[in-house]
């Protein structure tokens, strides 16, 4: 028999990038450059708004990785935001560490805390994990409320000596002819932008790796993935600890920017989990694009509607329910289904050369 007959007549490739995603990557570089240079011309309000947008987006990507990919629906990520914030305060106020150095340390320590935490809450499955993670966040809150050196239940503030010790403030003051608070915001802005970009990059790389494939398998069918030799527990643990580290760093940054911390604010389920869930759900869970869209929508709503107080929150809750019922894949899901586009191409596509077929 002819050797060639046994071979497929068409060649197959596995692709992770599409033309749209390559264009998107180029566009992302340009957007990033614009964002880096923006504070040189933008006003202080816009800079502050964007800091908020950046850290909410970074938190949303972390939660998305947890819930949308690893199937760990946590309602307790405020544990690590608050932990990161408190670590920053402890390191700078009590330990005299430079704030910028304190942020990565807060990340490492958050990961160290996340490990034993996971060993306990992972005993709860599915929906029970959600409430279990919430209990853990409450424990963290109550413990820090007992910690008198950082103000106990009422909290404390960063001293001006600490807030102005962030490297770069002096040179920006001189360069742009600004007062200290404005210069401080610009440094925070760059740190937030860097952290947000790094988070996006981290999530993207995780999803494109072999681990990412395994995550998809877990999300689609945990028992089957386990049967195929995916070590579900270890992968979930790794994702939980890694997102805790990133969330802790974001928390440290948030409270460096806020310069005032209290247990109730730092471990707020509304601020650091409910809003984050809203962002992910409205944009589209299980995609990288979804949280980006969700964060922008949330930012706009927060900016223009937050004054309505309780009514605003009722609206958010209602929107989340409607999206979950009628468009469970979120806005990005609706868009990508209609136009078949992906920007962050984390899915692998089977490409048949010579044809345009996809599987």
């Amino acid at each position: 028999m002819d050797d060639n007959a046994a071979r497929p007549t068409q060649a197959f490739r596995i692709e992770t990038a599409s033309r749209a995603s390559r264009a998107a990557a180029a566009a992302a570089c340009i957007v990033l450059l614009v964002l880096v240079l923006l504070p040189l011309v933008a006003g202080r309000n816009l800079v502050q708004d964007l800091i908020f947008l950046f850290y909410m987006l970074a938190l949303a990507q972390c939660w998305n990785l947890l819930a949308g990919y690893a199937g760990l629906i946590s309602v307790g990520q405020q544990a690590f935001v608050g932990l990161g914030g408190y670590l920053l305060f402890a390191l700078t106020l009590l330990g005299g560490v430079n704030p910028l150095l304190a942020i990565p340390i807060a990340g490492v320590v958050s990961a160290l805390f996340a490990f034993p935490t996971a060993l306990i809450v992972f005993r709860l499955r599915g929906a029970y994990f959600a409430i279990g993670s919430w209990v853990v966040a409450e424990v963290y809150r109550l413990v820090f409320a007992q910690f008198k050196p950082l103000g106990g239940g009422t909290g404390t503030s960063l001293t001006p000596a600490v807030t102005s010790s962030v490297p770069g403030i002096e040179s920006i003051k001189a360069l742009l002819d600004l007062r200290t608070p404005a210069a401080r915001d610009i440094v925070s802005y760059w740190v937030a932008l860097a952290l947000m970009t790094a988070t996006l990059g981290f999530v993207y790389l995780v999803l494109r790796s072999r681990r990412g494939l395994a995550l998809g398998a877990i999300r689609d069918h945990e028992a089957a993935a386990s049967g195929l030799g995916v070590d579900v527990y270890r992968i979930k643990l790794a994702v939980y600890v890694a997102t805790a580290a990133v969330t802790g760093m974001i928390g440290a940054l948030i409270y460096l920017q806020k310069a005032r911390i209290s247990p109730d604010a730092a471990f707020s389920v509304l601020d650091w989990t409910a809003y984050v869930i809203f962002i992910v759900v409205i944009g589209g869970i299980g995609t990288m694009e979804g949280p980006v869209i969700g964060a922008i929508i949330f930012y706009l709503m927060q900016r223009y509607l937050a004054d309505f107080g309780a009514w605003y929150l009722i609206l958010l809750g209602t929107l989340a329910i409607l999206i979950m019922l009628f468009a469970p894949k979120g806005l990005w899901g609706l868009l990508s289904e209609r136009y078949d586009v992906t920007l962050f191409s984390t899915r692998r596509r089977l490409v048949v050369d010579g044809k345009n077929g996809r599987a």
Binding site: R123, Y128, W134, E138, Q146, I314
Partner: protein, 289 residues
């Protein structure tokens, strides 16, 4: 020594309240595998409903609950039929997020309507009445009634589950959704009925919540957490386990409070985490499952 004994007794009585919180949650999970993140807020909502009925009609809260129960059954039935049944399926996320959204709506709806002020249900002399047990220990009548009501609720729930056709249908549906339908069970209706019953339990829990202490629109999530802890400590699948879980939680909290008043809640959480580490399936898990 008396102090510790007192803490133990008061803790067990407090546990009755937690068992009432937990019974509704346990019922929802038992029948439809629904983990309702709005459970605590629904209890607070029911407390406000009792308050309004009691003040507007000039009724005693106990009478108001009896009047409100059929209405709450219908509300629960409708909530499940119209909203929550649409979310149930293989995917965990929709029910969790829809009830989370519901929690935010209820909480802020109450804030908008009643403001953040603390409220309390008033029922005359019974509120402060207590029975002396000797040795300086006294038991409040309302806390005692709370525990007795929890026991009564569990007896009734067990009767419904194990002695009536609808209870058989609850258990069958929980066992195997598909085959339950082959028995002619309309699962949407069965789920809605279960939620209706859960709402009546919620109303009873709300009555004692409001009689025992002040409440305001923001305390719902903490009640959800206590209910959840009681369910997990007791072990899934048994209402008596839930009562035991509630009592363990209540005792842990009062003992913690006796060491330092600020440690009350933390002590309860730590007891929960300890059980999770030592006996992850709870203290009294159902044999099967």
């Amino acid at each position: 020594m008396t102090g510790w004994l007192d803490a133990l007794i008061q803790g067990a009585l407090l546990g009755g309240l937690y068992a009432l919180f937990a019974a509704g949650l346990s019922l929802m999970f038992g029948v439809m595998r629904l983990v309702n993140l709005a459970h605590g807020d629904l209890i607070v909502l029911a407390a406000f409903a009792i308050l309004v009925v009691a003040t507007k009609l000039g009724l005693d809260p106990f009478v108001a609950v009896i009047l409100a129960s059929p209405i709450l059954f219908v509300i629960g039935f409708a909530l499940q039929h119209v909203l929550l049944n649409r979310t149930l399926g293989r995917d965990l996320l929709p029910p969790l997020l829809v009830t989370f959204g519901l929690s935010i709506i209820v909480q802020n709806g109450l804030l908008q309507t009643f403001s953040a002020d603390s409220q309390r249900l008033r029922s005359g002399a019974i509120e402060t009445a207590s029975i002396p047990l000797g040795g300086g220990i006294a038991v409040g009548v309302v806390p005692l009634l709370t525990l007795l009501s929890a026991i009564a609720v569990i007896l009734v729930l067990n009767f419904i589950f194990y002695r009536t056709p609808v209870g058989r249908a609850f258990r069958a549906t929980s066992d195997d959704l598909e085959v339950a339908q082959l028995m002619g069970i309309d699962i949407n209706r069965i789920f809605a009925t279960a939620m209706g019953v859960a709402f009546v339990v919620i109303a009873i829990a709300a009555l004692f919540l409001g009689l025992r202490a002040n409440f305001d629109p923001t305390i719902g999530p903490a009640r959800l957490i206590y209910a959840f802890e009681a369910v997990i400590i007791g072990g899934l699948g048994s209402f008596w386990g839930t009562l035991a879980g509630g009592i363990v939680l209540g005792v842990a909290q009062t003992i913690g409070a006796r060491i330092d008043p600020e440690w009350q809640i933390l002590a309860g959480h730590l007891a929960f985490l300890l059980v999770l580490v030592v006996r992850p399936r709870g203290l009294f898990p159902r044999a099967l499952d």
